[in-house]
Amino acid sequence: MNYIDMHAHMISRTTDDYHRMALTGCLAVTEPAFWSGRDRLGPQAFADYFDHLTTFEPARAAQYGIAHYTWLCLNPKEGEDRELARQVLALIPDFLERPNVLGIGEIGLNRVTRNELATFHDHVELALEHGQLIHIHTPHLEDKYKGTRVMVEALASDPRIDPGRVMIDHAEEHTVEMILDHGFWTGLTLYPRTKASPARAIDMIEMHGPGRIVVASACDWGPSDALAVPEFVLEARRRGHDDALIERIVLDNPAQFLGQSSKFIPVKPGRAKVAAD
């Protein structure tokens, strides 16, 4: 089945992963900016990173017929350093016009500090100023509930925010309702240990319906699986769901959300139109 992986940190994956993703039906990936495993030493590191995400990575994906899109920001794990944040935020507008940039992300909170929240608000302002879609990270473990709640309440109280243009990712059983109830899109990221499994993602879809829900591998350099979305498809079929429902989750819903950006080109097998063209 064809699918779009809404969240894949391909910079940390091998080309073999693109190969396997193409074999299993991946038509497009969207890659949010992420933490590289250590805090960067200065803003120039981010300029290099953003250039990589908008040049090399789409070209590498195109070799396998996969369209590559990206989101730019300072990842929440580096949001504590306000001076660095100001310097990086000043860099981002120069990259926003590049053809595979869909918006600002993955912004959000990590340990839910005052500085992280200030950096989050700065990113939201940047997105509003430039009319960008927003892709939001929620903390992984004990911080997920409070981090999600702080951001949902902040965004819901801002009349300038259209929740239909915001994706709140890494949702789990204790946060999915609050995200959907406020009109946002929600992402279920599939991980072997720290996040939702394919079976739990299907549980949540069974209980809350398929509207405004997507799934993603969120694959990065940690324990993760670049083929988590096809694993979800297989598990959904084993659980008795028909292909129409599954395709809505893995292809139609992502295309609907991403289609709000004029840069997103509806994807078809073997016809990936990418920024490298």
């Binding site: 504590e80 839910v112 500085n115 903390p139 997920k144 409070k146 709640r149 309440e153 059983e173 659980r239």
Partner: protein, 109 residues
Amino acid sequence: MAFHPGTCLLTQTELLDLSFMEHRAQLLAVAAFLDRLDRAKGASAEEDFRLRAFREALEVLTSDEPGRVKRAQMLLSDQNLELLDLRDSQSAFGASRRSAVEPNAEVEQ
């Protein structure tokens, strides 16, 4: 707690046929982990915030009330919604060492 009856398409027997072995293994892994803790050199972690939360979550798993995963998630969550003044660490721990002063308190912006 919402129950959502009938939303899973399979019967209970079909679910057992499909995934009993997988969850049997997960159950035994938890049992072995608890035994391993008992055998560990030095009982130094009985008051560890992670172990306390883990034992509380196990009680949720054995209850008959639906919504177990959400209640277990909340036991493993920091429900103190006050923002930290500064980042205390880069990584999370999986359970909270902070007390929930007001679990449902409104967040000050």
